[in-house]
């Protein structure tokens, strides 16, 4: 079989235009490699990309772990994970970081009793899935509003969580970070770092109140229905990118990291289970 075009979905986190721009080199290389028209799509939220993969309108995307689990649960035959990003230190995990404003008098999870806690996007691994499972293990209570926390809300995304905590709209929230480097800088990479770099927040105003176990980085997935040679070509392109064109790799991976390594569904079984547990 033949494909007539190749469509890459890009997840949120930045200005839509910035996202498209930083992936432009990937698009060009793909077009050259596959010889078909290649397009980038940057929908407003995680769900946009996932629906695209499920509906067969997006061929490749870099999902979060939870997003992958969702895709898998809705249709196990839709996509397959092929690669995962490897950090500078060789691991492929990151953390969900719980944080609060210093002047709100919150220094740990215990102080959060009766207060407002914020998640990001429901489809985010670090912004919802993992903390919603691990935090109850720490507190010994459910995440239902009124049970331990006074209220639990979704802010919509990592950026919104950070701003909401910084503004005092919510007392604490969770977001992602690699957990390396200094708190003052907002770690080496992650949503906090971006906010610091943008001059939005001053890490001195915030405190860390909770940190998850390492979370596996989300996979790059390809639609299963793609022709085998396309899958092979694309996997090879991505895997060789750090060596062939580091600048492009830096842009696509949004920062310093070592490269991609192959991964399969097995690495995400626990995440899939976690997600199943959170469904009704």
């Amino acid at each position: 079989e033949e494909i007539t075009e190749f469509r890459i979905g890009i997840l949120g986190g930045e200005n839509a235009q910035d996202r498209l721009n930083s992936n432009e080199c990937l698009r060009a290389q793909t077009e050259e490699l596959l010889g078909v028209e290649t397009k980038l799509f940057a929908p407003a939220d995680y769900n946009g990309v996932i629906q695209g993969l499920l509906g067969g309108t997006i061929d490749m995307a870099w999902l979060g772990a939870s997003g992958y689990a969702k895709t898998y649960l809705e249709d196990p035959e839709a996509v397959e994970p092929v690669l995962v990003k490897v950090n500078v230190d060789g691991g492929y995990g990151y953390h969900s970081i719980g944080f609060a404003r210093k002047d709100a008098g919150v220094a740990s999870l215990e102080d959060m009793q009766g207060k407002v806690f914020g998640f990001g996007d429901p489809n985010s691994t670090s912004g919802y899935l993992i903390p919603s499972i691990e935090i109850p293990q720490t507190t010994g209570a459910t995440m239902e509003p009124g049970d331990y926390f006074g209220d639990v809300v979704f802010t919509g995304g990592h950026e919104q969580t950070i701003v909401a905590v910084n503004n005092g709209d919510i007392d604490a929230g969770v977001t992602w970070a690699d957990g390396l480097g200094d708190w003052e800088d907002g770690f080496n990479s992650g949503a906090l770092r971006k906010a610091v770099d943008a001059g939005l927040i001053d890490m001195n105003d915030l405190v860390e109140i909770w940190r998850s176990k390492p979370i596996p980085e989300g996979p790059i997935v390809l639609r299963k229905a793609l022709p085998e040679d396309v899958k092979v070509k694309m996997t090879a392109l991505m895997a060789s990118m750090p060596a062939m064109d580091y600048d492009c790799y830096y842009q696509v991976a949004a920062g310093e990291s070592k490269g991609f390594m192959p991964i399969s569904h097995d690495a995400y079984v626990s995440i899939v289970e976690a997600r199943k547990a959170k469904s009704n």
Binding site: F41, A44, L54, G55, T57, G156, E184, D185, A198
Partner: protein, 441 residues
């Protein structure tokens, strides 16, 4: 006499009743607003409102900042507008207020404020009327400074970080980097980025001056650099605006074309079969009631993100609205005209074409044009949720919460777009409805 007395009493009670009614209304409204104030927690909102965010937003929307950053490890100094790659000055041509002297970088923030980077670990900030703040950075001991314990509230200091905010600018020092922000009025690089040869040249110069870039004529080169401006991306923004209007246009016109034949099925005088009528009407109610927003989500699964999905979402919803309105218009048509055409032995289609369509064209056109205008606004919102277009650019720019000048730019464009569509639909309405003699083509 007693009759007058009763009349008086009656009048007094009449006014009394009216008084009660007129007082009850505002009281009810106030009571409702009070309930809302409690339910929506106005007090909490007022308390949480962040005036500084508002200030930052407003300030950022009409000004821009230039970052001077030193990497404390390598000692490399870069000057970049808005801290973005595309706005970075070439290392050998920094702006006039940044001076490189041996191992020092002297940054003049104006009004006597001067920041100096010394080597790759020292800095000083001379603040008129306060004094000089000096310090060094070490990997081990963090950020050290000469501030005592009595720190004013515009300075935030901790072991690993120092932040100073003054009227002239902002300085942040961490172990990794030392950064100075200077604020300027306007939208810098709006026309050309730094790497464009046309940057810094006025309009007259570009139009009438000598060739700046030998390879292109000034006009075409300048236009292309403007269109492809990497920071403001005018070309892509124009595409996004076009996509938004396109969604509205396709959605509205498509809906009108789908709704018109269906409306006949929902009109009493054209479809005597009650069951069909009832069915079609409920379909209209359903697609209208579901709302474009939900259609967007439903359709995104089948068609993926993009303008077509947005257009189809509008098409679905408006088919319902148009269907309802058109069928009402059809129920009000004058049978005489239809009978006149029918009596000549015209086929059914001709009967509708000449007996019915001319009658409903005015209603139809005016509704369609009104919706076209209002759907331009809806398309902005739908785009924000999945489709694309200017709505997506806008919401994403707002969510990242730093590019307020871009937000302002987009808002201005959206307002202009809506006003333009409003004007256009007004013109078309006047033209098509009043001027058209043939009852439509």
């Amino acid at each position: 006499m007693s009759q007058t007395a009763t009349l008086k009493a009656e009048a007094a009670s009449l006014i009394g009743r009216k008084r009660l009614l007129t007082i009850a209304m505002p009281v009810a409204i106030l009571a409702y607003l009070a309930y809302i104030a409690v339910a929506f927690d106005f007090a909490g909102v007022a308390e949480r409102a962040r005036a500084d965010n508002a200030r930052a937003l407003v300030a950022d929307s009409y000004s821009y900042k230039t970052h001077v950053t030193r990497d404390n490890r390598s000692g490399e100094v870069t000057v970049a507008i808005e801290g973005e790659r595309k706005g970075t000055y070439a290392p050998d041509t920094p702006p006039a207020w940044v001076a490189q002297q041996d191992d020092r970088t002297v940054i003049d923030l104006g009004d006597g404020h001067v920041v100096t980077f010394i080597g790759d670990d020292g800095f000083s900030y001379d603040i008129p009327g306060y004094g000089v703040i000096e310090g060094t950075i070490s990997r081990a001991r963090g950020v050290q400074n000469n501030l005592g314990d009595d720190v004013p509230d515009w300075i935030s200091v901790s072991k690993n970080r120092l932040a100073i905010t003054t009227d002239a600018g902002r300085v942040t020092v961490t172990r990794n980097k030392t950064e100075v922000f200077r604020y300027f009025l306007g939208w810098e690089l709006f026309f050309f980025t730094l790497d464009s040869p046309y940057h810094g040249h006025g309009l007259a110069e570009i139009l009438f001056g000598p060739r700046i870039d030998p390879d292109h004529s000034n006009l075409s080169g300048a236009l292309s650099d403007f269109w492809n401006n990497a920071m403001w991306r005018h070309g892509e923004v124009a595409w996004a605006l076009f996509e938004t209007v396109l969604m509205a246009f396709l959605g509205t016109m498509g809906a009108a074309m789908v709704a018109l034949p269906l409306a006949f099925l929902a009109a009493k005088n054209f479809t005597p079969v009650m069951a069909v009528r009832f069915g079609v009407r409920r379909v209209f109610d359903f697609v209208r009631g579901v709302d474009a927003l939900i259609w967007t989500i439903v359709l995104a699964r089948a068609f993926g993100p993009g303008p077509l999905t947005g257009a189809l979402a509008i098409l679905f919803t408006d088919t319902g609205s148009f269907g309802k309105m058109f069928s009402e218009a059809l129920e009000n048509v004058d049978d005489k005209q239809i009978e006149g055409v029918q009596s000549t032995g015209a086929p059914v289609l001709s009967r509708y074409r000449f007996g019915v369509i001319p009658q409903i064209t005015p209603v139809l056109l005016s509704q369609v044009l009104y919706y076209l205008e209002s759907n331009t606004r809806s398309a902005t919102i739908i785009g924000a949720i999945t489709g694309g277009g200017i709505g997506l650019l806008l919401t994403q720019a707002i969510i990242t919460q730093k590019d307020w000048e871009e937000v302002t730019y987009y808002i201005v464009l959206i307002v202009l777009m809506v006003v333009f569509m409003d004007w256009l639909s007004g013109i078309l309405r006047r033209r098509l409805i009043k001027g058209d003699a043939g009852g439509g083509h």
